[in-house]
């Protein structure tokens, strides 16, 4: 039972354009959502997060949008750069529920120069 789904295994975008990575979740108890970025031969690194009390969080070129009614979040990268090419994992947890963080399968982003 996949509680966090990233339905697009890969995405290809031209440099300078917007990249939109999508994530859906099924557990309504999730109240904290994270995006991790992973380069080959490295571990995932934290990118940006959003609490369920917000619907948008922005950090430089990266913005995460949360639609609780649709149980959907998205990561926008504007403008996309070749260095953004990586695998992006969506993750979710319930903060008061402790350690357990559920990860999606990841979306591989290719940014073409």
């Amino acid at each position: 039972d996949q509680q966090v789904k990233q339905n697009s295994p890969s995405l290809s975008v031209q440099e300078g354009r917007i990249s939109i990575l999508n994530c859906d979740y099924t557990n309504s108890m999730f109240d904290y959502f994270l995006w991790y970025k992973k380069y080959p031969a490295e571990g995932p690194t934290f990118l940006i997060s959003i609490s369920s009390i917000k619907d948008k969080n922005e950090d430089g070129r990266f913005t995460v949008f949360l639609n609780k009614s649709a149980k959907h979040l998205s990561l926008h990268i504007v403008p996309s750069q070749p260095g953004d090419s990586a695998v992006y994992f969506c993750a979710a947890k319930n903060v008061r529920g402790g350690f357990k963080t559920i990860f999606g399968a990841g979306t591989r982003l290719f940014v073409k120069a």
């Binding site: 295994p9 904290y32 690194t45 934290f46 903060v95 350690f99 990860f103």
Partner: protein
């Protein structure tokens, strides 16, 4: 700060062999985790620890064991390697797990790619 380190980077095992994957962190984090990532899948939690001397099972603990004798180290032991354990293994740590965004972020090591033949 080295962050989270893992050794080895790669390993090939024969069925039935055993090995220990090493993990260490120098951030004085309380929580440590072991995940495995299979192709096309998300990270699955194998074991976790909330502090030295305290460990517990995650989603997929069968075939693995852990120990946490110090805050820094969290080794993962495979006793009888099976082909189903072919995967990439990630160790992670966090300061807390229920403290909110500023303390719950997990920091990952570079991973160990294990193949069991």
């Amino acid at each position: 700060n080295a962050g989270v380190t893992q050794t080895p980077k790669f390993r090939i095992l024969k069925i039935g062999q055993s090995m220990t994957l090493q993990c260490a962190q120098d951030m004085n984090h309380n929580y440590m985790y072991w995940y495995r990532q299979d192709p096309g899948m998300g990270l699955k939690l194998i074991y976790y620890s909330v502090g030295a001397g305290i460990t517990d099972k995650g989603e997929v603990p069968n075939g693995y064991n852990v120990s946490r004798s110090t805050t820094e180290d969290f080794p993962l032991r495979l006793e009888l390697a099976a082909p189903s354990q072919t995967s990439v293994y990630f160790c992670a740590s966090s300061l807390q797990a229920s403290g909110g965004p500023s303390t719950d972020t997990q920091y990952f090591g570079p991973g160990t790619r294990l193949t069991v033949l």
